[in-house]
């Protein structure tokens, strides 16, 4: 029997960890099924749910982002890419459509109404614009068969996709450590949740060029 290499162990740990956080995200998503505007996060957004464009954008964002999270993770598997290139392509389309058509534009709309004032509104709007830009660039790159560019922009795009998880994880950590006031922590994680991811993405891209 072949023993597992360190790399394999890390890969399985990564998949396991991702499944855990994906499960948490799935639970958050299912809170809104059946469609309800008086549950969870929306309970403190009662000023805005009267705007149908806000509510529509919110639900579209919630239900399509989960597809981006799931499809995006598979795109980095060398196994799938090598053995099942058509699966890579199909899931890639799901990822692109989920973000470019649904999750990113709606992210911008709900970002305009973000809790925590101007700072977090800018944070979420910039996040959604970058998310769209990176994902769109990854799409056009592969259409032009520019694989290196496609890969780099997918790393950036997925780093921002992951902010759904990291933002909530940071909130959990900061609350556990410092017991900040609820809106104070919200403003901090609105930035921390994705800027750090992007920095790590750039480091990964930079290192892979060498």
């Amino acid at each position: 029997m072949k023993s597992l290499s360190l790399k394999q162990i890390l890969t399985y740990a990564l998949i396991g960890g991702y499944c855990f956080f994906f499960y948490l995200m799935l639970k958050i998503t299912f809170q809104y099924i059946p469609i309800d505007t008086d549950v969870a996060f929306l309970r403190i957004k009662q000023d805005y749910i009267v705007y149908s464009h806000y509510t529509m954008a919110f639900f579209i964002h919630v239900f399509f982002s989960i597809f981006a999270l799931l499809a995006g993770f598979t795109q980095f598997s060398k196994n799938i890419l090598a053995s099942y290139p058509s699966l890579h392509r199909s899931l890639g389309y799901i990822y692109m459509v989920s973000i470019l058509v649904f999750a990113a534009p709606t992210g911008f709309i709900i970002g305009v109404y973000a809790n925590g004032g101007l700072s977090s509104q800018i944070a979420f709007c910039v996040l959604s614009l970058l998310w769209f830009y990176f994902t769109f660039s990854a799409f056009t790159a592969i259409k032009k068969r520019n694989i290196a560019r496609h890969r780099n922009f997918m790393i950036r795009s997925f780093a921002l996709t992951l902010s759904a998880i990291t933002l909530r994880a940071w909130k959990f950590i900061l609350v556990a450590l410092f017991h900040p006031r609820p809106m104070d922590v919200y403003i901090v994680v609105a930035w921390l949740g994705w800027v750090l991811n992007l920095v790590i993405a750039e480091i990964i891209i930079y290192k892979s060029k060498k």
Binding site: A40, R43, R181, M183
Partner: protein, 303 residues
């Protein structure tokens, strides 16, 4: 602990007004307004003439004297003993304490130039008992003891020394005087105590001076006013509305807080839902929304 349920759980008690009877013959020439003035001058109440001045609301701490520490007794609660009607030989009234309003009736005794009362609660409530107290009209006080019928209760004897008070609903009341907002380290200590382990079986909670600065009875609160507050702050701001209306708290944590630290607070009623103003009702709904959100999500993975 679900403070939001307090109101729902509050049981409407029967008022003692029905027992107000046949007192008209004592009124004679003295009206209630000038009787209190009369007390200041004549320290000794003479029979019949001054007897109506003994009526009123007496408020103070209800201290445990005989108790079983293993049964988690409440060592001290604020009690309101109201004398609703009084005749030459009888006393009718009710007490409000710890979310419980109970009628009592019994004898008025005149002995050694002093009036005292020996009154009993009906006995159909677990916490009923017998009061013995004397009137000290010169100081506008009553003092005495209460003995429980049920000797297996956590507290079987309590003592009290209560001051005559007048209750009015005042929406402009803050928990502490506004001028102390900046130098009130004391209140921070209260909060530290209040939110210490004794009342925190579900984990840590926080309350800060913000809870004292916001008055939800005279100000229409917005989302911005409440969204950055701790759950502990929200709980106090909301319960302060009930306290202004004289709500007697069943919830032990809130009772301890308002009984011990809020001077103007008087427990008057066990159900104040129909006394809330429209402004207060709206504020309560808003605050509850954020309280529930904080409870469910503040320290969880999520928003």
């Amino acid at each position: 602990m679900k403070p939001t349920l307090i109101l729902l759980l509050a049981i409407c008690n029967i008022s003692c007004d029905t027992k107000e009877k046949k007192n008209e013959n004592i009124v004679s020439t003295v009206t209630e307004e000038n009787t209190s003035e009369a007390t200041m001058e004549t320290t000794k109440p003479t029979k019949i003439k001054d007897i109506l001045i003994l009526k009123g609301i007496y408020v103070g701490q209800f201290h445990a004297k005989t108790y079983d520490p293993k049964k988690k007794p409440s060592y001290s609660n604020k009690i309101n003993i109201t004398i609703d009607s009084i005749t030459n030989d009888s006393v009718y009234g009710h007490s409000v304490v710890a979310g419980n309003s109970r009628p009592f009736s019994g004898e008025l005794i005149f002995k050694d130039d002093e009036y005292s009362a020996s009154v009993s609660e009906p006995g159909d409530d677990k916490y009923d008992g017998h009061f013995n107290f004397s009137f000290i009209p010169a100081k506008e006080k009553i003092e005495g003891f209460w003995v429980a019928y049920d000797q297996n209760l956590a507290v079987t004897v309590r003592s009290f020394e209560l001051k005559k008070t007048v209750y009015t609903y005042n929406p402009d009341r803050y928990l502490i005087d506004k001028k102390h907002f900046e130098d009130s380290d004391d209140f921070m200590d209260y909060f530290a105590e209040l939110y210490s382990t004794e009342f925190n079986e579900e984990g840590e909670e926080y309350a800060t001076m913000e809870a004292v600065k916001i008055n939800a009875s005279n100000t229409e609160l917005t989302k911005e006013d409440v969204e950055n507050l701790y759950k502990g702050d929200l709980e106090i701001i909301r319960n302060a509305i009930y306290a202004r209306h004289g709500y007697s708290f069943k919830n032990r944590k809130m009772r301890y807080f308002f009984d011990s630290y809020v001077d103007w607070y008087i427990p008057m009623y066990t159900d104040i839902r129909d006394k809330l103003t429209a402004l207060e009702v709206n504020n309560i709904a808003l605050i509850k929304r954020y309280e529930q959100h904080a409870e469910r999500y503040y320290d969880y993975f999520g928003r």
